[in-house]
Assembly symmetry: C2
Homo-oligomer: 280 residues x 2
Amino acid sequence: MKVGLVGSGLIGGSIVKAIAEAGVASEIAVYDKSAKHAAAVAEDIAEASVFENVEDMSTFAVILIATPVLSIAEYVDQLASSNAVLIDAGSAKCSILKMLEDNGGVPANYVPGHPLGGHTSTGPGRSDPAIITGSPYLLTPVAQTDPKAVVTARSFLESIGADVRELDPVLHDRFFALASHLPHLLSYALVRSLEELPEDDRDIVRELLPNSFRSLSAFARSDPTMWRDIFSANRDDIQAASERLYSSIEALLADATQVGASKLETELQKLRDLRRELDP
Amino acid sequence: MKVGLVGSGLIGGSIVKAIAEAGVASEIAVYDKSAKHAAAVAEDIAEASVFENVEDMSTFAVILIATPVLSIAEYVDQLASSNAVLIDAGSAKCSILKMLEDNGGVPANYVPGHPLGGHTSTGPGRSDPAIITGSPYLLTPVAQTDPKAVVTARSFLESIGADVRELDPVLHDRFFALASHLPHLLSYALVRSLEELPEDDRDIVRELLPNSFRSLSAFARSDPTMWRDIFSANRDDIQAASERLYSSIEALLADATQVGASKLETELQKLRDLRRELDP
């Protein structure tokens, strides 16, 4: 089985390692706009080599597209007439589908996907097969997707150890707007707030910054290009999630009065219990 | 040296352990509205015993007040005419000072304080001397505070291993509104957002909830009574910090367009670099 990879960042590098560990491919072709990045991923993997054109992968069985979200549709279009099943790794699905619709339709061989094992580290140097193996890989096929392509995608991803699930793309984007995109945006926005502090306060920031701020802002260390694309691609859902969050903050602050605030305490108890239930 | 403790939660329990480990007190009196909680803290500490009235500590050298923020002023008032230096552990300072002003003035023997080593666990069972030893303990004395009381407070806290710093109370509250109180409020509000998801989405929450959401919402596991008081006590500063954060979110989303968004990428790069600088 021949497998292609387009995009050699953290996720791409991790996919190649997972494929190699599973031993399911006779050949792995790696393409990246930067041939140097592609070479870094192919290095040390016996089956892997750098390809200079994605079209040269068109006879392959499966091609994984792990580029930033806004450039995925372009590669899907380039490979739409190939024999390969195309699986992407974008964290927002609807804008990719819309770009494809606007450009002549969603190809039948494209199976939209989203692996959930990523973290804030970036680049192939931090790649780790565990980001794929044992982690959920969501597939969000649409009416235009060939059911056989979904079967191939699922079976390939399962062969390299991923925990494959299917989800509606609209539901996917709405859920991840709240569950991932907004938390990342909050991290960046919290760091931005530090810049607005008066000079006196800024002096004490570094030494006294509590764990809560450090922890909530930690995701601002994520890859700026990847997140620029996600924030842009899923902007409307993120905006809606952000407005709901702000309403929640306003409601909690409205209950915070110095005369008892027993309603607020009851609400915080309920939220604490709900949060505890989310722990494994 | 005789030392009193009012309030036997996580911080109170940790203070008693730190005092006992440092061996600086001949007697430690522990008071709590719940005699059972006081007994849990005094247990296993040779010098410690339960007191039923805070007034019985009035001849002591130092009394630490580690109750929820909104009840601190009441105990400071009760002990205002004692010989003891009073140090509290409240995370918001100005509302305590205002309550004292409104009630006849800030006592000269009260040294407002705030230990920074706390975490989301609650109750004396999780107490740990390291929450005090080696962690910053901020003091925010005001014009009415006796400078000798500050010297005593500092020297006592340093004798049990705390890293004592002084800070203006207004600056303290403004800084912690952004650096601690707002992050905690965001955690609670994120959990509250889950309740507003459509039923379809709620089914997938538990299994697919990403690390980013888990990490940003983790502080909703904190003690509801403690945080009800902090949100109420510092409400105006938290409100202001929340409005600034929301403006930042709006600004970032306004830069998120599908046509390049290079301004957003530049901004995210800057914020990532700033966040990296905050790492030790």
